[in-house]
Symmetry: C2
Subunit: 336 residues, 2 copies
DNA sequence: CTGAAAGCGCTTACAG
DNA sequence: CTGAAAGCGCTTACAG
């Protein structure tokens, strides 16, 4: 690997001049600059990242933190990653992958080793204490997929408007398909996304003379959670419904299976809608209507803001970035 | 951030002594060593990664290269990532994410900047020229999910035995369910995994008096590809089959939909089996029998071998690591 | 415009 | 066992 010294020797100048030439400084004669740049190119010179970082205190590296040690979650994270990467590439940065589960996490280590200039951390289940600990790392940080309701010095949040998204779904069931008895299946109390979807649902139906029942499923369990809730509901005849709004697509998939088994026709007897717009919504005879939370867009916003923040070294003025979800109409709601 | 100098000042010794103490060198008085370590701990000292790298020429960082700019592919890559990460954490390394699509890729840049000590690159569609270019980077590299049939100085491969996996499926259809007319749906000529699955299929059925037809679907298209192939096959009555072996689960999902629509019962009339063991195989009334290629295990092997390789600086003796796939029996084959 | 020098924060061969 | 010095490959303030 060629270094500045090698180039300097060949060009017959000092390394400092080479450095200036390659950084396109005004203070080098154009002619000489071009000569040096040519030599560098011929030698395939690429600056050593460690030396650069050590001197400039810039790593051109951001951390991406996936939730829990498991890197689970599928397409959703990939979309966010794609969005982030657009800007990472544009700025010639790179992404360092790590995980966070408290003080001794890999993420904290790389931060304290000064490896990264900023971080993007995928949220949904951080509590205020954890957010404060993250803020204390003193690193520009963006939390994606979670609203942060109080002001933190080093944290910006980017999230999808789940209240709105659930509202759109409820509205669609009521206005377009004239449903009047809606079963809501939540994803768990720990998830802010689930809570917000509940909020959006109740907010939208109140005052509209709609009967409803709110049940609590579990995102992590996927279809089996939606399945057993709907089975129980039907068996026990606790609540007769003509529509199901599930807080995730996997819950909706389970719900739909339960309906089929009980000879309830979807969408004729019961409209079903999900949330997240995962691929699998297309895999069924009756494809599932859903809301796309715009994960790609969240990633783009996160990447854009973080990279501007760390390269311009000036704090962004907007600190709470909300992304708009979109209704994706398929057949399970009753549209054709 | 505390540096060695800060600690040295407090301890009243030279930085070199501090360095030795923190690296647990024999050549420091035990008493002094402990004193220094205590001070370092109190100051929350963490060594600066750039300085360390610059001096030692070790980055404690490996690159993970996902195929194409798209970071697509879902659960499969996540499983590999999880496996890799087990060893990355154990060795206190970190993962730098990048992508490769030829000479000017982000991956090549980070390698030339000396940022990483090794790389893991997820394959399946690299041709020999590309592999040679990668080899020329002169970096310990592991290709996952692709067999490399010729010897390369800097590349080891880790792959799942797709020939065996397809063989297991064919065997299961023939021996257990006594199927005699098998429709095979491939995933595309470009994919080594698909080619190997074809190979495993044909190898297993030859000489067993089995009728078969090999068709070519497309992995990227997913269910719609499997769907249209099966629809055509039924409509044109070209080949009457009592079993379908699809080279991926998404192809199998489409195939199953087509059967349902044509009032062909699965598994009574036709056995269907897929490959990859994705989550969605469980989402259906008739869950799909599949083969798990052991992505997690591939990741583990890749992580283990690469980290040993780069930390011990001695080339591994095994250079072609094959992982064993496993049959996951569900209902679509006819088992109950 | 160019060079010589200092320094980023480490490690380690060389003295003593 | 400990210190002083050199050096990894850069950047940049200081002279000239």
């Amino acid at each position: 690997m060629a270094t500045l010294r090698d180039i300097a020797k060949l060009a017959g100048v000092d390394v400092s001049t080479v450095s200036r030439a390659l950084n396109n400084s005004q203070r080098v004669r154009t002619e000489l600059k071009e000569k040096i740049q040519k030599i560098a190119k011929k030698m395939n010179y690429v600056p050593n990242a460690s030396a650069y970082s050590l001197k400039k205190r810039i790593n051109r590296l951001i951390a991406l933190v996936l939730p829990s040690i498991k890197f689970s979650g599928g397409e959703f994270y990939q979309e966010i990653l794609r969005g982030i990467n657009e800007f990472v590439e544009e700025y010639q940065f790179a992404i360092l992958l790590s995980n966070y589960s408290g003080r001794n996490s890999a993420f904290v280590r790389v931060v304290r080793e000064n490896r990264v200039d900023g971080g993007i951390i995928i949220g949904d289940i951080f509590n205020n204490n954890e957010l404060k600990e993250l803020d204390a790392l003193n690193l520009p940080l963006i939390v994606v997929n979670q609203r942060v309701d109080f002001k933190l010095k080093n944290i910006i949040d980017v999230y999808s408007d789940n209240i709105m998204g659930a509202g759109i779904l409820a509205e669609h069931l009521i206005k377009v398909h004239e449903r009047k008895k809606i079963l809501f299946i939540g994803g768990g109390e720990d998830y802010q996304t689930s809570q917000d979807r509940v909020k959006g649902f109740t907010k939208t139906i109140t005052g509209k003379n709609i009967q409803y029942e709110i049940t609590n499923g579990q995102f992590e369990q996927g279809p089996s959670s939606g399945y057993s809730i709907v089975k129980d509901m039907i068996k026990q005849k606790k609540f007769i419904f003509d529509a199901i709004l599930a807080a995730s697509d996997t819950l909706a998939i389970g719900a739909m299976r339960a309906c089929f088994e009980e000879r309830i026709r979807v969408p004729e007897d019961v409209s079903i809608v999900g949330y997240d717009n995962i691929q699998a919504t297309n895999y069924f005879r009756v494809p599932i209507t859903s809301v796309d939370p715009s994960a790609l867009h969240m990633g783009q916003k996160a990447g854009e803001f973080l990279l501007k923040w760390v390269t311009e070294k000036t704090e962004p003025r907007e600190r709470n970035l909300k992304v708009t979800p979109h209704l994706i109409i398929r057949k399970s709601c009753g549209c054709s």
